[in-house]
């Protein structure tokens, strides 16, 4: 048996913000004439304690079962009033808010008559919509207290250790036969002068000692299903296949320096990359007395229009190391712009100049030419081409994404950008999160980073993941879509349209939406030709009612 609708409307003055333009008394009087409205109350400030307790009292006194507030924007204030409804004992989703401030009094100040008419219309539409509101419940799903970390470079290892330190189990996957990532082959880490190999060995030793971390090397991620708190990851490692249940996932797959095939006569012997130079420095096998480094090789060009951020620092660092070994060595760095951001890199840059490293700028239009034993460069100060002696040429190439980044992106259903670096949910608001709940990213997998940045991000990602893992269960508001299987005609429209690949066909051949995975966008709801998908949060009935109330 349907209970009788009893709607209360609360109209806010917001001081003079609304009342300075709109006639609140008239709006209240008008709202009182609308169907099912049993009480209308003006408030000076509805969001103040007097306002919210006014709502709670009115709910009890008038036995209200729907509440409409005409005030400011629901984007900031809806949670406050939903809470008042809940405290008053009615479902928080039996609440509708209409914006007569940002959308009316503030933007139509010079046409009060029209603004008044519009406010009446908006209130009428909100009341009409309120009649079709549905109660929405929260539900719970249990959390697996284990994390999956993909990639055991400095970022992945740091995340894994941080999570283990907080008491969570970790499954750590490494594609290669050994942990360590890029740092394994590098010389020293600027700006601290720590040996890169030592840093890696320290972390690897800590991981091996940490009973909570299970590391799988030569591993390939094969399949991931499930949702936040409850993922199931299948991977192979050294010929065996494993499936682990995990509550959260961290992507720390890093990247690799571009191999400059076909650029500047690269041959891996006389013309090498910075990584190859570091291998030489590490083993003490550098004997060249004239070295030319070329920056931005394959970077900041139309096909790869980004700055790799770290290669300037790396060139500066390595030129200093060369100068330390042989004070009289000639070192030239040919650059387009120097990216030596931050206090420490800037200091390193100055130090290199003081040590006699020569920095010469070149343009993309007149790049250096690598010849036999020298490099020709247009010298802007001299106004002509000059040959620089070069027993060794070192190319600074950018970090690029791994070839398998797209496969990881597909398996996890998280996006990559045009250069196949993983893309966070929001650059400023959630820099370490993916849009999919429970999956995080850090280090070079996101964008070229220094070791310090990679570690900070790794610790941040671990902390984001531990917010999920530390709960026994997660609560989720049921603002989600649900299939009425009796109506479903198995057309696959929802399966195809959902941006999160949530709907799937169950054994009976009918569509199913896992509420924990549904993001509540409603795209499938509008797409289903059978109108089989229910979406109580924003139902068709509500939208249609608002349309019907467009005109009085």
């Amino acid at each position: 048996m349907e209970t009788e609708l009893r709607i209360g409307v609360f109209v806010c003055h917001c001081g003079i913000n609304i009342a300075g333009v709109l006639d609140i008394e008239d709006l209240c009087e008008y709202a009182g004439t609308l169907p099912n409205v049993v009480t209308v109350q003006p408030n000076l400030f509805t969001c103040a304690e007097t306002g919210t307790s006014g709502i709670k009292n009115a709910v009890k006194e008038h036995d209200l079962n729907r509440v409409v507030v005409a005030a400011c924007t629901p984007r900031t204030h809806e949670p406050i009033f939903r809470a008042s409804c809940q405290e008053a004992g009615i479902n928080p989703y039996f609440f509708e808010m209409v914006n007569i401030r940002e959308h009316c009094s503030w933007v139509h100040r010079h046409d009060r008559e029209a603004a008044q008419g519009k406010a009446r219309d908006l209130i009428r539409m909100a009341v009409a919509r309120a009649m079709f509101l549905e109660p929405i419940e929260t539900f719970k799903s249990k959390v697996e207290p284990r994390a999956l970390v993909i990639g055991a470079g400095i970022a992945g290892m740091s995340s894994a250790l941080a999570l283990a330190g907080e008491g969570f189990d970790v499954t750590l996957l490494e594609k290669k036969a050994e942990m360590g990532g890029l740092l394994r082959d590098l010389h020293k880490v600027a700006p601290s002068e720590v040996g890169a190999g030592e840093l890696v060995e320290q972390k690897v030793a800590a991981i091996k000692q940490e009973g909570r971390i299970q590391c799988f090397t030569s591993a390939t991620l094969e399949e991931v299903s499930g949702y936040v708190g409850n993922y199931s990851a299948t991977f192979s490692s050294n010929g065996n296949t494993h499936t682990h249940k995990v509550g959260a996932i961290i992507v720390a797959t890093g990247g690799a320096p571009l191999k400059p095939m076909g650029l500047y006569n690269y041959d891996g012997k006389r013309v090498i990359t910075q990584s190859e130079l570091e291998t030489k420095l590490k083993s003490g096998k550098l004997d060249a007395k004239s070295i030319v480094m070329i920056q931005c090789v394959g970077a900041r060009i139309p096909e790869r229009n980004y700055c790799s951020r770290i290669c300037c620092m790396v060139a500066i660092k390595n030129s200093l190391h060369i100068k330390e070994i042989a004070k009289d060595a000639k070192v030239f760095v040919l650059y387009r712009d120097i990216q030596a951001y931050g206090v420490e890199n800037e200091a390193l840059f100055l130090k290199a100049k003081e040590a006699g490293v020569r920095f010469i700028r070149y343009n993309l239009e007149s790049p250096p030419v690598v010849g036999d034993g020298n490099v020709e460069i247009y010298h802007p100060a001299m106004g002509k081409e000059v040959p620089l002696p070069a027993e060794l040429v070192v190319l600074s190439t950018p970090i690029v994404a791994h070839d398998d980044a797209e496969s990881v992106s597909r398996i996890l259903k998280v996006p990559v950008n045009e250069y196949r670096f993983f893309l966070e949910a929001h650059a400023k608001l959630s820099p370490l999160d993916f849009a999919t709940n429970g999956i995080y990213l850090c280090g070079n997998a996101h964008y070229p980073a220094t070791v310090r940045e990679a570690i900070s991000q790794a610790l941040g990602a671990a902390s984001r993941a531990s917010i999920i893992l530390s709960h026994d269960a997660i609560e989720r508001v049921g603002t989600v879509a649900r299939v009425d299987q009796e109506l479903c005609s198995s057309c696959f429209a929802c399966v195809k349209v959902c941006p999160y690949q949530v709907p799937h066909m169950d054994e009976g051949g009918k569509a199913m939406i896992e509420p924990m995975q549904c993001q509540g966008c409603g795209i499938c709801v509008a797409e289903c030709p059978a109108e089989a998908i229910q979406f109580g949060y924003v139902s068709d009935a509500q939208i249609m009612a608002a349309c019907e109330a467009l005109c009085a």
């Binding site: 139509h108 029209a114 509008a526 797409e527 939208i543 005109c551």
Partner: protein
Amino acid sequence: MNNFEPLIAVFSCHYCSYAAADLAGSSRIQYPPNIRVIKIPCTGRVSVNHILKALECGADGVYVAGCLEGTCHFISGNFKAKQRVQYAKNLLSEINMEPERVQMYFMSAAEGAKFANVAKEMTETIRELGPSPLGQNKSE
């Protein structure tokens, strides 16, 4: 006809265009009072039926305002909305109604001025087209 005031329904998504409308408000950017916003979580929630319903119920024009292309909070909702708006436009053409009465716009949450400009542009467009032939809007 001279004092025809168009009535325009706007389907506005929570994450971008509704936020842009809020920003237009807090920046006190003035625009014509002819639009009525219906808030939805994502423009992908809007079906062709909703657009037609608004026209049938008296709107002289309808537009769907979503996030900038490529930045939809729900990845592809605005892309879907664009297709559905195009579908609705084709339907209008078939029944000899001006397809310009239905539009799709894209804006970011930071584009309060754009929200106001779009409201103005659409109001002018519809003012020129005149009242909807479905004739529910009694404000003439």
